[in-house]
Assembly symmetry: C2
Amino acid sequence: MRLSTRGRYGLRAMLDIAIDQSDEPVTLASISERQGVSIGYLEQLMVPLKKEGLIRSVRGAQGGYLLSRVPENITVGDIIRTLEGPIAPVACVSEDYPEECDRAEGCVTRLVWAKVRDSIAEVLDSLTLHDLIEETRKSSDR
Amino acid sequence: MRLSTRGRYGLRAMLDIAIDQSDEPVTLASISERQGVSIGYLEQLMVPLKKEGLIRSVRGAQGGYLLSRVPENITVGDIIRTLEGPIAPVACVSEDYPEECDRAEGCVTRLVWAKVRDSIAEVLDSLTLHDLIEETRKSSDR
DNA sequence: CAATATCCTAGCAAATTGGTAGGATTTATA
DNA sequence: TATAAATCCTACCAATTTGCTAGGATATTG
């Protein structure tokens, strides 16, 4: 039941971009330095995030990445689903296209996994990047 | 964010044993037939479940497996933790021995994963084998 | 003693994970 | 108009995890 580094690093990267207030693009080099993740790996994470429309990029010198929406309108769930796929502790209760299964009817354990899926989704969807920025400020004024 | 087959098959196997009312040991051969999981693989799952004290075994002819406790006292969480390890969407918020991390203090994303962990645990710990037996009966009287 | 079970050790192919390498392309600025 | 700074793109790959199977040893019943 582990999240892969894609989701973890991806969320850190998105928060890193969100925290920057300058309105100037944030480079992967700077994210890499702050977050301790290689530029090459970050590049891979940016591809789906951009395709999904959560960020936009500026190419060339002084380029980098910017959020496409205000932090209030980007949830952790948006980011995690983009990088890890639909939430699905097991394939037969996937949010998107649940996998067919012979024993589906009368499969009681399926109900368990559906509850797990929903409880995870509830947490991820209730948190926005804005919330995490706030939390960051709180923990830094000490 | 997937559960492995160990947890899935293991829960099915445990429920299968729980549903048997005969007080006689349930063989892996019969579980295998009903659940569509090989005997060899089931054997592997029984080892930790037995070590954890959730089931006991009877060797030899007419042998098999029995629950060590009444279904009311075995939660889904007990089974999943036994087969999959402590609940931990990421290592730094593992229920058991959270992995150290340089950026632990001030790491806001950690709070997210802790919430996810707790919400998963809440679901798994609130469901017992008894609940699932009840659910099975309900879905079969139609 | 034969049949039926669990127990135990090993091994292994396929998939997934977590990256790296190397270059092509775009753009700001000196 | 070069040059440097960036993103973009394709490929590859080693290590780990997953999901098993094989083959036998041991225990128990009838």
